[in-house]
Amino acid sequence: MKIEMKSISKSFYGVQVLKKVDFTLENAEIHALMGENGAGKSTLLKILTGVYKRDEGTILVDGVEKVYNHPIEAEKDGIVFIHQELNILPNLTVLENLFLGKEIKNSLGVINKKKMEEKAKTALKTLNVNFPLDMLAGELSVGKQQMIEIAKALLVDAKLIIMDEPTAALTEQETSLLFNVIRDLQAKGVSFIYISHRMEEIFEVCDVISILRDGVHVMNKKISETDFDEVVRSMVGREIGDRFPKLTNTPEENSRLEVENLTKKGLFENVSFYVKKGEILGVSGLMGAGRTELAHAIFGSLKYDSGTTKINGEKVKIKSPIDAKNHGIAFITEDRKSEGLILDFSIEDNILLADANHLSKFGVLKQSNIEKRVNELIKKINIKTNTSKQPVKSLSGGNQQKVVFAKWLQTKPDILILDEPTRGVDVGAKKEIYNIIIDLASQGVSVILISSDLPEVISLSNRVMVMHEGKIGGILQKEDATQENIMKIATGGN
């Protein structure tokens, strides 16, 4: 499918987010769309598929001018959009989600479950994932939900698949599987628009790259004619230097958090480890290795069967997030939409939520303090917005993630648990977040960094703990923490 978008503009509430963007996609092309958080990538593609109306411009699909008023119309033409924010209905089963609105029925309108199951199984098999079709989708991890979204696209006879950060929740392995699927489909003539903040992926799988900066199309090149530095420069508009800052923190002798024999049947078993004061402990592992669940157990939001937790050498009982917070633990969850944010709330109110007590007196909010503090944070981690009163649901995905980060930063924690903290965050902002993490560790904060981004864990951790099927496969010192070593343990090899 060939797409030509010409001179597309769009404003929200008087703020122009797309400025006369031209965008061309050739048949059977894998086209990367890059740009900082809030550059307008998602908006451009939402305009293409009829989620938003454009203010001006024309769209040609295979040479014919088209106006889609609703994504369903685009889908009828074979354009499938896998959104950045997952559209999984948690109370429906995997199967129901896969076929939502496209149920296979016989002439009497009765659903043919057998046939749907068959098709679903084939699709899941292509992606090499395997989970029960009758399971409630809400019980699956974000990564698995993402796989459902991708499988949905396979079920439709798509001519163009738009993927808005499809791999944000996936591990390397699943990502390379996905790439195989993409290449297979490309060979069959399917085009792709691929948005990602993971640089390596772009160079691995894409043919052409377009870059948006502040709503302007600033670069369009063959991927073979550009390089990492040029891409970053065009995105950010300046040099950002090395991707990962130097680890300057020095872990102290004493351990701050000790976990002993933590067990939750079916999720993780006999997990023991410690984190020192001022240390960053990376946690690596495949999807489903139990990392997120372990974090929830430490934070008191998941009941575990047995095991003990010590803070500063003393046994503590953390039964709820309230206890955790009182013990100085902060937790940035992986699923910002359902666990991290109140989408209707403003940036300010979200940030305030985790630490309202310090910003209030006798329960009455101290508005001027709040505004000052929130604006400081917005500046510090560079949230792209005009006002702290903007509802987070109208922020770009990456900026939403930064709000979650700001919220917990505000609580000034001793122990900071990060579960995929840079998911969907652009390169420049990632570096800002890395700087903050290292800064915190230098000030004595103990950081547990769960991440599926291997270069990230490796560069940012003093030690790396690798989990495999709910157990600790090994804990690697900095010098041993190489991509190969980690993957070996993560996949169960020795």
Partner: protein, 309 residues
């Protein structure tokens, strides 16, 4: 910009239109006496609605308010008849209302029962207890002479009825609580995303229990005012009041899913219902038709609200 204003002030515009229609048919509607009368008539529903607003903002519902009103007013009336000082009797009534609210809160949070079911059950229990307590008989002959008790329902200050003053004070306090305190912020947060609120380390259960307590307390206060105005407590008092309160909250633009809504909206919702009642009375419309009109206005308001989105 204009469209935005209509959305924001939809219910206010509705109230104005109603007022204009009724005034054009009977100019007396706008007289000070009648307007004060409208306020007096809505004061009981207003107090209940304010509590209901908090509950609905968290995504819950409190069906037991009418029954709490009846039971606490029976208790207050009984104590007065027994000769206790009015302050003691009213204090006891309020305390009971609060306790019933705590019960609701505990059943919902610790018992993990959905608010609709939980308060449906406690509504039945409280109503039943009222019958047990009163034997089904009205308790009357409460204030032969002027006391603080009769002042609460029938008195006035600078010719403004005391119930109106009470509900406006409560309104002001609650507006402050919702807008300017952590408690208010948590109320919205729970309705917006309960999981995220829990994970932010907020004691969601405690906030919810406090909110149902507030709802019970306000229902009891409404009950005391009603009892004082009528000079008697009935076991059937407050039947259906929960529905009026829910209607007022929804008319005021609050989403039943929680997380969104303002107390000024609720006040307007209350006034719309009050104006309809009062206006139709002034226009001599039969009370049978009044319910039809009221229900239709509620439907219309919600349909319009939906269209705006």
């Amino acid at each position: 910009m204009k469209a935005l204003d209509i959305r924001k002030h939809g219910s206010l515009i509705g109230l104005l239109i109603l007022t204009i229609i009724i005034t054009s048919m009977n100019p007396n509607f706008l007289s000070t006496t009648n307007l004060l009368n409208v306020l007096l008539q809505v004061s009981v529903n207003a107090l209940i609605s304010f509590g209901m607003l908090f509950v609905i903002l968290t995504g819950g519902i409190d069906l037991s308010v009418g029954a709490i009103l009846a039971l606490s007013s029976a208790i207050t009336a009984d104590l007065i008849v027994q000769g206790y000082p009015p302050f003691v009797a009213m204090g006891a009534g309020l305390l009971c209302g609060a306790i019933f609210g705590v019960v609701n809160g505990l059943v919902i949070t610790k018992g993990k029962i959905q608010p609709f079911i939980a308060t449906l059950a406690t509504m039945t229990i409280f109503r039943g207890l009222t019958l047990v307590y009163t034997n089904g008989n009205p308790i009357s002959g409460l204030s032969p002479e002027e006391t603080v008790f009769s002042f609460v329902g029938k008195g006035d200050i600078l010719s403004i009825p005391v119930p109106v003053i009470i509900f406006l004070i409560v309104f002001t306090i609650l507006m402050f609580v919702l807008g300017k305190t952590t408690f208010g912020r948590y109320t919205y947060a729970i309705g917006g995303n309960e999981d995220a609120t829990k994970l932010a380390g907020i004691n969601v259960d405690r906030v919810k229990i406090m909110i149902y307590t507030l709802s019970g307390l306000l229902a009891a206060l409404a009950g005391i005012i009603l009892t004082s105005r009528l000079d008697s407590a009935q076991s059937t008092a407050g039947v259906g009041y929960e529905l009026d309160a829910i209607a007022a909250v929804v008319l005021g633009g609050t989403s039943l899913a929680g997380g969104r809504g303002r107390i000024t909206g609720t006040l307007i919702g209350i006034l719309i219902l009050g104006v309809i009642n009062n206006g139709l009375n002034m226009l001599d419309v039969s009370s049978f038709y009044q319910n039809v009109v009221k229900g239709s206005v509620i439907l219309l308001a919600i349909l319009l609200d939906r269209k705006d989105k």
